[in-house]
Symmetry: C2
């Protein structure tokens, strides 16, 4: 899959920032590709880039409309269809991270056909996978896990890729979600793989590698989330993680989309080690990554200090304070 | 989905009995629908029903060729295609439990079209599901779990349905695998659902019901199986099981398809309770079901006696010794 760049980011009329996390992720990690945004009345998200009409976007060189919305269930709202058809008519390809396939909507399929434009469904893969085998493979793997969905698992591995490479380590980001695939141009959206092949797909995207090579695998969901724990477990088993980082958002009162309370960071460490041992008996935590956006700097530093002391692990906000301490710990725990 | 009966059972050239477990399951629970079998040279499975040619099967009233093979990965071998095309030409519909969609093979799609026959892919569902919510719903639910794949989870719930109904209880088998769907004519093959919707699909097939109604939900895989644990966990969370029965096969040395050893029955009880509590804090084991086929009767009874004493639970082989003790325990633990 090769998505034509640059992008016009479609935000629709999503009710909050979290619902547009795909778009924010792309804009943060590939700002040079995000020329403008397109929003409908009532939209509560804002990427802080110019609002463009379709003709303006085309005039400025945009090649693809990116549907950067990750709502629960991934459904395509009826009233967005006309906007998507308009983009195809204006000459843009359309790339979507929704579960609903663009081509399954007749008006969209017809418009793409009529105007010779391409439709990309980033959540879908035409690749077929073997079932996971759980056999040890060479190379090192780090997985991000979480106390909930949408707590910074992708940001953390992307920041680690940058930080580890800067220290001369051989490290690659491995995307497992739609945003990651938009950012890296490859990978598999694990949550859209047929259930029998979750761990097999992760084994496929992170094959055997050099002994000192790190695959930094984007985690999904949480072992404690009643909607998605199966995905998280298959991902953990397929990743055969040597190391993991626990990601957390301290202001969340219930898990995303359900009424369940969040587990503690210690709960997540314990269950990840307990269940991860099935395919890697040496799995161990190497740090804690906290999204401290809602805290002021003093509060954030105090919280991170408490967490580090409590768990005996480096704790940071990768976006705000960088990942140096995490990289230090990884280098110390896994000498070349 | 409504599959025309009776069936001609296609066994191909599978290397062992386990690989044809779908066919055995259908023949055991719906013998009146299984008129004959069709086997290729080298086939190691035998349902003990007449081997029929296609003309013989048609003459005896067969309406559908059932591909009753559940190989790992569910791939359709190249050399079966001609046989399937022959069945369509002879006037049969074809129903398959493989992951590969029949219609994705051009020769099969063309033959079905040309002869006006129907293709059923029992593992695939065109139903769309919401994500699981984990909210408590009315009614009682029993789930079978296992120390491995293929250890009798479906047989146990089918036997329980029969036994509980005979005692006047309101109980329904809920299929979650291809064989179960063939047997009940409805249900969802959970292992083929897109990963994000595993628990949501189980919530859908077992909705809120009368307070004394039992849904007997067919389990899949094992929480300890490195290929399929994610499916098992999503199923456990979606089922919100009040009760579970652990299924076991005592002669297995490694888990099916991988090199991992089997967990103990106690391991499975402990992990099922630990993880199941997320969506049903009252989850509890009510029995152990052992496939004792490889043991003589004295050995089987001795093993079951030991397991019952060790775990404080009724232990039986549902096929060999019935499920009366399990039903007694269910009635005692869940008074109307």
């Amino acid at each position: 899959m090769q998505i034509a760049t640059p992008y016009l980011m479609f935000l629709g009329d999503v009710p909050d920032r979290l619902a547009a996390k795909t778009a924010y992720g792309i804009a943060d990690w590939r700002p040079e590709w995000c020329i403008g945004q397109m929003r409908l009345p009532g939209c509560a998200a804002d990427l802080g880039i110019p609002d463009l009409t379709l003709p303006e976007a085309v005039a400025q060189g945009c090649k693809s409309l990116v549907i950067g919305v990750a709502n629960a269930g991934g459904v395509l709202p009826e009233h967005w269809v006309a906007e998507i058809v308009g983009a195809l008519e204006a000459g843009l390809d359309v790339a979507s991270g929704l579960h609903t396939r663009l081509a399954s909507v007749p008006a969209i399929a017809e418009a793409a056909e009529r105007h010779g434009r391409r439709l990309h469904d980033v959540r879908h893969s035409d690749e077929t996978f073997p079932t996971g085998k759980g056999r040890e493979r060479a190379g090192l793997r780090l997985l991000t896990v979480g106390t909930d969905c949408s707590v910074g698992k992708k940001y953390t591995v992307l920041a680690l890729e940058k930080g580890m490479r800067a220290r001369g380590l051989d490290a690659d980001f491995k995307a497992t979600g739609q945003t990651g695939v938009f950012i890296s141009g490859r990978g598999v959206a694990i949550d859209a793989v047929v259930a029998d092949f979750i761990s097999g797909a992760v084994e496929w995207i992170s094959p055997a590698a050099d002994a000192n090579h790190w695959d930094l695998i984007e985690g999904q969901g949480s072992l404690y989330h009643p909607s998605f724990a199966g995905v998280s477990l298959g991902l953990l088993h397929g990743a055969q993680a040597d190391a993991f980082v626990v990601c957390h958002e301290p202001t969340r009162s219930t898990m995303r989309g359900v009424a369940h309370p969040l587990p503690s960071i210690q709960d997540v460490i314990d269950l990840t080690v307990q269940l991860g041992r099935l395919t890697n008996p040496a799995i161990r935590p190497v740090g804690i990554a906290v999204n401290t956006q809602a805290l002021d700097e003093a509060e954030a530093r105090a919280l991170l200090g408490r967490l580090a002391a409590e768990h005996g692990l480096p704790a940071t906000d990768p976006v705000r304070f960088g990942v140096e301490e995490l990289v230090d710990r990884i280098v110390a725990d896994f000498p070349a």
